[in-house]
Symmetry: D3
Subunit: 247 residues, 6 copies
């Protein structure tokens, strides 16, 4: 199984972090390919930035069409997730959605730890779009920018444990999601300090991509995720128009 | 007041229809400018097509930045609405949202008449995103493609009246929205045959844009629609990167 | 267009405040008529007081029937709004509903600043009745009575800015509503100190009344806001029984 | 215990029906007093008619203040229920609310059989106001006016059984409410033909009034149902202003 | 009327407390029988403990089948309530559900005071299962174990008043439920110190059991609380298999 | 990894069906152990039957404690799922929950095909308990009992396709769940005839159990799924009391 993991941000350093965590968790039969957005911003925190990210992911998805068995969108809020599900013949997985659906099987109320204050509004809307708002205990966030992925445990470990404790005691969380790709390694390394089970988006995403590939039947022709009706289009890049084409 | 109305579809014929209805309803002090998406599809019915439309609207919004006092996105599902609200200093109005907020003041439960079956799932998600699902009586749809905007009353008038009757009697609607730009003229012309008040997106959008321009205070620096934090971006067209720039 | 604005409270001083703000914002073609409740209380804060207010508004609406093109109910919680929509042939606008539908087009989550603690429960129920509870970030309130409308900026300006800041930072509001008629002037005068856009009920109400008058089709005979079925009534004042009569 | 039962409609014939059912179900220690609205309409089906009914009930409640230990509002949609709870020192019960809270203890999803089509929208809003919409299986309604309370079983018995069967099989109801005062006798007389348990508003209301009187502690000074703050009022009838007075 | 009250906990001391409160509130015609779970835990606070309690209640219900006219389950979260409603021919009442449906008639938003922190999550899920989450103002809890039922007013009275005050002022509660069987006496004894009306589960349960017995029609054959379809069963105790048998 | 799959029904024939499907889908490293309820009913369709099933699953879980790395509850409505999550140190998976969380990643609105009419009410409550009611397009059901698992494709294939078509066209489903263990094989064999992707509970459950085992961190001490507080218990079987013990 070939799994294409796309970082909708332009930061190749974060792509490396994602890849490391993905390779650690993937089953032996999974062949991982990485891609980084060719356009967009360093770190998606808002709706507009997510639109840029979705566009960049779609370009990559179209460009490499036919070369992967599943696609994992590896950024907050899953930019382009529902959109690409309409046009691809393979499972499309979002790391936020995957983390939510995984966490939902470990506890009733889910707490989220996010990487910045600004991102929380956008993230809440994502949870709502997936119909999981009633399962959300709350979103708490780091209050300092990440200095360096390599030192994140030293820099943020204590505060993360403190946020987790509050999520459990004050918000009533039974399970936590560490919501940023840059936090991928952190989840594992501090897990034994935390009061409840914790999942992160990258490893959840890789595992759920494997599940969907294992289970999913052939692509079906109806429902609201069927291919868009054929119609005139203009002005699109070759990779985007490829996504609208019928075989 | 300069109102820029952007058709996120590539069809200039529909742009003309929108313009006619917009000019009919706008107050005398409103100067209307029209724009048509340079890329995308003939008619947006799905999430992926809406992503293309949002991107095309953003390109126009950036290109003409500083040349308008309000922006009206004139297609189903308001592609790019929340995204552009983050980056523009002027009111951004969506014709779906404007129609919903207008209709909500004419009756408690809102019925929507859509232009195709495929579009209904995407449209329902829009209503949900605006928090108005509890106000939605239901969505009914035409079952034949629109042959020609000029003959729409002859082609669909009877069926529209029938759909409206069912929306009221079977779904419990108190007010109706005719949800497609191509239906703009139709709403007015058949209004006297319908059992409840009816609004359409184009005229609602123009009127609400005038309200927001009249009322809105200067752009404020906080909340989740403040400008995205300044950060590195690459690979964006000049018009898109313009939207991320600070003055 | 003749717009009848009814203050459901008995306080003519507040009527004057409303009128000043209404005249400031209304388009040139709008002819404003004011009316003050002939019975009821000085300031509506509870459900029972709102029942008194609704009755007083209905009496005025019936008394002046045929003399206005739209009716604006100018008090918290829109007493009589849905009730009068059933019996009047013209648009009926509530300042709370109008403010909510306007604010909803400026941000995703709405914060409300109310004039007293007691009023907040009743106000929350109004937001719920309009189906907008999922859009409500929270309600905060002044903690001292308004001394004098003329000195409100001096008396409450600082605290209002503080409440607004908390609504944004702690509740996640993207847009604010200053919810009391007596605050009408205040919204505009402190807008430049606030962290997000702010609307008030009076100006929203006047603008939305203009929109509905511009758009609304003729009164329709079906749905749950059609005229009540003709039936025996007794003991009603002439103005109320007028509202039940068929032309 | 003195229970004042107020018919918010002006129809004394219906008052008699209510009284008969109330006397049948009340415990021996309950002394029942009946009252009929002095103003309003023959049968409340809409929001505006309910406003008239609420006003009439309030007038009676004030007029007889101090002469009853509990008040039962005996009409659809409980006109004046929340309002009067603020100003009376004794339990106030609504027959709709009482029926819902009783039915909720007999099955998970509640079906309602209403007396006319027009009434269903208003009734649905009541269920929503009580937070019970998720428990509502649906509302079905008789399609012919009630000819005569005395012949209701012959006139409507068969159709009622048919509606009940559909409410269970098509809507998934576990329990039914026969929602109109005029149906009070009917519920009991056809109960053995129905597929699920059935309750009616009058008997539920009488029983719940007894429960609240038995349980309720002395009137408490806080919360949103505390007495409205003392303030100026004008133009109110003696019975209404009595309700605002402090002892 | 014979009312069987089952304590799903194994603590006979609490059974005595429940009995005392039940006898105090029951009407003269009610004959109360008490039973205590033969297996399970000292005090149910979690979902698993509730499963044990539900099983124990079912065993008693089957063992004494035919010997009672109504069954009251007297513990937090009503273990076995919905389950037993399917198999018994008499009303089954839960003290939590009964308290909620009673409290709902005394105020719009309900605050709950629970006996321990751990129990609050499970209790919230119960409120949700009854569809009453929108009515829940919040759950607050004692922070020390109950030393002795006989000294509960001295031990916890002050803190209870403090929790109640916060539930009203900070959470917006209009009415309170004291949620544990051991608190039964307390509610009454401190009622005059509390800011809003207060109900407890035992007395609510006894009263609602009387209401249902008075009102409920004969057991009906359809809906999701009809008897389970007849089918093979094995390995059940005589009392449990009795519950599945048809007469 | 040792996966214990428990059939909460007493039917060993269905256990065989579950096992076949589980072995087909499990990864090579998964060692599957099967168990069948020692007490209970042939096929769980109601709440009371599920209580019996939950008890039987708990007995097996306690009896084999320490002998499995994950537990899969293989029946409708996941009897005992939340309860066992509190007391086991390993992941506990329910086939309904697993199917929902898997399906949620294949489409926005989920249609369920159930095995009998009676089961649908109980199943809807499960979906609600998982917070997924807003994602539920509807539940449709077979109308004839399953004659023989071996001939299910011949017996029900055509009707299943018909139900699926209606779930998509009339209910708006994007993805389907075939909800009964006896249907496990069917899903795969008719998948190519269906209009949208389809998942079944057994294979979803096995895959999700693998995900949770791969991801889950060590058992954490807080939140509402922590071990119940230590307290006195009596009358429990050795296997149940084992579940309450601390190591």
């Amino acid at each position: 199984m070939k799994l294409l993991i796309v970082n909708p941000n332009i930061s190749s350093g974060v792509t490396d972090l994602i890849e490391a965590e993905a390779r650690r968790v993937a089953s032996s039969g999974v062949q991982i390919e990485m891609a980084t957005a060719a356009s967009g911003v360093a770190y998606i925190e808002t709706r507009f930035e997510a639109l840029l990210g979705a566009h960049a992911v779609a370009a990559i998805a179209g460009e490499r069409k036919g070369q992967y068995d599943a696609l994992l969108i590896a950024a907050f809020g899953d930019p382009g997730l529902h959109e690409l599900r309409e046009v691809l013949d393979v499972p499309v997985v979002g790391m936020t959605e995957a983390a939510l659906m995984t966490a939902a099987q470990l506890g009733q109320r889910i707490g989220i730890i996010a990487i910045s204050r600004r991102i929380t509004a956008w993230y809440r809307e994502c949870v709502d779009r997936y119909g999981m708002l009633s399962r959300l205990a709350g979103i708490r966030h780091l209050d300092r920018p990440l200095r360096d992925p390599a030192t994140v445990r030293e820099d943020h470990g204590d505060y993360l444990v403190e946020l987790s404790r509050r999520a459990v005691e004050e918000d009533g969380a039974d399970v936590l999601i560490l919501a940023g790709a840059p936090l991928a390694g952190l989840a594992r390394s501090v897990a034994d300090l935390l009061p409840v089970p914790v999942v992160d988006g990258v490893s959840s995403g890789v595992c759920q991509a494997q599940v969907l590939t294992r289970l999913a039947t052939m692509r079906a022709p109806s429902g609201s995720f069927a291919k868009p009706p054929l119609k005139l289009n203009v002005g699109l890049s070759k990779s985007l128009s490829e996504l609208l084409a019928r075989e």
